[in-house]
């Protein structure tokens, strides 16, 4: 609801809400903030910097491979580059950009809430994320960055073959980061279950929220396998246990099983939020509801669920029994069903709606193309002999980059354009936006498509160089050119948004006539998100004018305004019946303090000062005690 042209009594109420929800200005305000929008922006800027770091690593890799027998970087540095590139893009860019930035900013707005269910924990998840990123990048500047690939197979990662601190940084950095991701996942699940506007039953919840619910459930149940794996690795390397040591009853394949029990659902965790972005953009630019809403909602959840049963298709080359391989091949084939349901629903929405190919929708169209292409090569892995042939070749690299860059990053770019007016209050310039899309589309296809061919020609991944005369040179050169074209597209995109922020005209609350609740509030949204908790009677509440009129009347009448304190309603989890009004915590210094204490624990662990780490652990407990010394109603 806009604050313009409202009756004096309504204005008085919004002014009171502004006073109640206003956060401290300046640096201290950002350090102690618990506002989901500010935390979303903190995630956004941090992950953007990390995307830059991962991108530079990628370009160094491509420069090294542009020609045969290149020596731009040493083989040791190359190992660190491709490992850090993978870790950065997966753990420090896509997950935190989608869940941390988009999710934090948008989920409460979309469900009609004023904040997350646990605002201080939300802040903690950001500070831990930032600390874990600094922790792992410290290793790069120390020359001890992880160097055994993002999946870090043993025995290469064991102390015997990797005696430096590189892998310790990997193991501890991943555990550290997992704490942040688990907090974020739990936060989203509880927020979606408990903080929806009264009346927003599951069948009225936006598909974006279903996608984030699916991704959060995936994170919650996938991350512990990775945590267990990395705990074992750290113990093997530093306490001399034998989890992965076959000579003492351990198993190197144990690492692979646990890693991929996490790793394959992780792929869906990466792309399902992107599906959510797509299902937000498509109705706005086709001006129709998404086709087959219930099926798409179920498919978003199902794709993550089925994703837990396919991990061993990453391990066909390790000598498993045929029956095991066939089982996992069948499970892999099943993933096609929920994926295809969504693709058909998106395409039918395009066809049956009135598509306006503005920049966000172009990115979604590009995403569908890339996802289908990557999906088609993915389905080829169901053919076990083919999978065994291409294992560890560039064909695999091509496949997962089509999925991860094409299907996850393209919607992120589309989402950046789509919600730019909401976050900044400014429109963006359309023509440079469209040009940036086409440059990125051409660049990424030039970058990743030839990888299929060099992979089939036998080029293995993770080689730092290759001899001349193998027929790989032209393809590699094309890929490198594609990499730099992609960079140009990204720079144009960011430049356009930056320039638009400075110069473009005001957007108003709803420039796209978007379907979901965030388009009913001002741009950028006020600290309290909504002056009145919105009435919801469909999954497209901004297209329900009667409800919006009722909101305006409610504000004037003081109904569901909750202007007595830092309050928001809590509802029943499934049908969203009003349950109670809850007091929300104010800004707090404890989340960054706790994250700092936790960082010191991990820093001490990586240098082997376990006693000091224990003392730092006590500081963590003290920080927690400080955190809980004040209850929300006492603030």
């Amino acid at each position: 609801m806009t604050t313009e042209a409202i009756p004096p009594v309504s204005r008085m109420r919004t002014e009171r809400l502004e006073l109640i929800w206003e956060e401290r200005p300046g640096l201290l305000g950002w350090l102690t903030t618990v506002d989901h929008k500010r935390i979303g922006l903190l995630y956004f800027w941090t992950t953007l910097v990390l995307f830059g770091a991962g991108g530079i690593e990628a370009l160094l890799i491509r420069t090294q491979l542009a020609q045969p027998n290149e020596h731009v970087v040493s083989p040791e540095t190359y190992d660190q580059l491709f490992t850090m590139h993978g870790i950065t893009m997966i753990f420090f860019f896509i997950i935190p950009m989608t869940t941390g930035a988009f999710g934090n900013y948008l989920i409460p707005l979309m469900i009609g809430a004023r904040d997350m269910a646990f605002p201080r924990m939300n802040a903690l998840s950001f500070w831990i994320f930032l600390a874990s990123a600094l922790f792992i990048y410290t290793s790069l500047f120390m020359g001890s960055a992880p160097n055994a690939g993002w999946f870090d197979y043993v025995p290469l990662a064991s102390k015997e073959f990797n005696p430096g601190r590189n892998i310790d940084f990997y193991a501890l950095g991943i555990i550290f980061n997992s704490i942040s991701s688990t907090l974020t996942a739990g936060q989203f699940i509880v927020t979606i279950l408990k903080s929806r506007a009264p009346g927003m039953s599951f069948n009225r919840m936006p598909l974006f929220c279903f996608a984030f619910l699916a991704a959060s459930l995936g994170l919650l149940f996938a991350l512990p396998a990775l945590s267990a794996d990395t705990i074992f690795l750290f113990l093997d390397r530093n306490v001399h246990t034998h989890f992965f040591d076959p000579s003492h009853g351990g198993s190197v394949l144990l690492w692979q099983h646990l890693f991929w029990i996490f790793g394959h659902p992780e792929v869906y965790i990466l792309i399902v939020p992107a599906f959510g972005i797509a299902t937000s953009i498509i109705p706005a630019f086709t001006q129709r509801k998404v086709v087959a809403f219930p099926l798409v909602a179920v498919a978003e959840l199902l794709v993550v669920f089925v994703g837990f049963g396919v991990w061993a298709h990453h391990m066909y080359a390790v000598g498993m029994s045929t029956i095991s391989m066939v089982f996992f091949a069948a499970a892999t084939a099943m993933v096609v069903i929920p994926s295809t349901i969504q693709v058909f629903a998106w395409c039918m929405s395009f066809v049956t709606g009135t598509a306006r190919f503005k920049t966000p929708l172009l990115f979604i169209a590009g995403f569908i193309f890339m996802f289908v292409t990557g999906g088609l090569t993915g389905i080829m892995f169901v053919a076990i002999p083919f999978d065994q042939q291409v294992t560890d070749t560039y064909f695999i690299v091509a496949h997962f980059h089509y999925i991860i860059f094409g299907a996850a990053v393209f919607p992120i770019f589309g989402g950046m354009y789509y919600w730019f007016p909401k976050v900044t209050g400014k429109l963006y310039y359309e023509l440079p936006g469209q040009i940036s899309f086409w440059i990125l589309f051409v660049g990424t296809n030039l970058l990743f498509f030839p990888m299929h061919i060099v992979g089939l020609l036998g080029m293995t991944r993770r080689v730092s160089t290759y001899p001349d005369g193998l027929g790989w040179t032209a393809y590699n050169l094309a890929e490198t050119i594609g990499g730099f074209v992609t960079l140009a597209g990204i720079l144009l995109l960011l430049g356009n948004l930056f320039y638009s922020y400075l110069r473009a005209p005001a957007a108003g609350p709803d420039p796209w006539h978007g379907p979901t609740l965030e388009w009913t509030t001002s741009s950028p949204p006020p600290d309290y998100d909504y002056a009145v908790i919105p009435r919801v009677s469909s999954a497209y509440p901004n297209w329900d004018p009667v409800d919006r009129e009722l909101d305006r009347r409610n504000l004037a009448d003081g109904v569901l305004v909750l202007e007595r304190g830092h309050e928001q309603p809590a509802v029943t989890p499934v049908d969203a019946r009003f349950d109670e009004v809850v007091q929300m915590p104010h800004e707090s210094p404890w989340p960054p303090i706790l994250a700092l204490a936790l960082s010191l624990v991990f820093l001490m662990l990586v240098i082997g000062r376990y006693g000091v780490a224990g003392i730092m652990g006590i500081f963590c407990l003290l920080a927690l005690a400080g955190w809980h010394s004040t209850e929300p109603q006492e603030q």
Partner: protein, 197 residues
């Protein structure tokens, strides 16, 4: 769709569990999955090694761990009563019952720490894969009992100043955590004692 003429602070009796309780469910789900990975690892290693435990390592003791386990699991009853007493607004009963749980948990933890130290003296964690997973599982479980002790200690301190909605929610959430730790301990001990079969 419900219409609201005015907003009540609550809709009468609570219709569903609080966000804090749901948060605890999420924590327990995550921890249970972590233990699932540990227990899966135990059996993965076990099925690749004969005999189990490997030669030279005694089978885990049965009687004392089972008695201790029974004591720990019995805390479910006073914790459950504490939760009900809190919802009924009976402060003294709540504090007393939580104190009982705390004493039993702390005693259990202290004995187990002593016992593990004694076991490590005989067979240390670096002997082989069996000892590695054995102590990891045991250590992780004991760490969770310690967390339950700390939760209850914090709760008792909070309850010295009476009830608030926040503290009532905390009692229910921590009660759930205590139940979960008790179930987890049964599963962990069942897994470790299966080596006797």
């Amino acid at each position: 769709m419900t219409d609201y003429v005015a907003v009540p602070r609550t809709a009468g009796p609570r219709l569903s569990n609080s966000a804090g309780w749901w948060g605890m469910v999420i924590l327990v789900a995550s921890e249970a999955t972590l233990f699932g990975a540990f227990i899966g690892t135990y059996f993965y290693l076990r099925f690749r090694t004969t005999p189990w435990p490997p030669d030279g390592i005694p089978k885990p003791a049965l009687v004392v761990p089972l008695i201790l386990l029974a004591c720990l699991v019995a805390t479910t009853i006073p914790m459950s009563f504490a939760s009900r007493a809190a919802q009924a607004g009976r402060l003294c009963a709540t504090r007393f019952l939580i104190a009982v749980v705390l004493v039993v948990q702390a005693g259990y933890f202290a004995y187990e720490v002593h016992d593990v130290a004694d076991q490590i003296h005989r067979v240390d964690i670096t002997r082989n894969a069996y000892s590695s997973i054995y102590y990891t599982l045991l250590g992780a479980d004991h760490a969770h009992v310690l967390i339950a002790v700390l939760f209850n200690l914090w709760l008792l301190m909070k309850l010295t100043h009476g009830f608030t909605t926040y503290r009532l929610n905390a009692v229910r959430a921590i009660a759930f955590y205590v139940y979960a730790v008790n179930v987890l301990t049964i599963v962990v001990f069942g897994t470790l004692l299966s080596a006797r079969a």
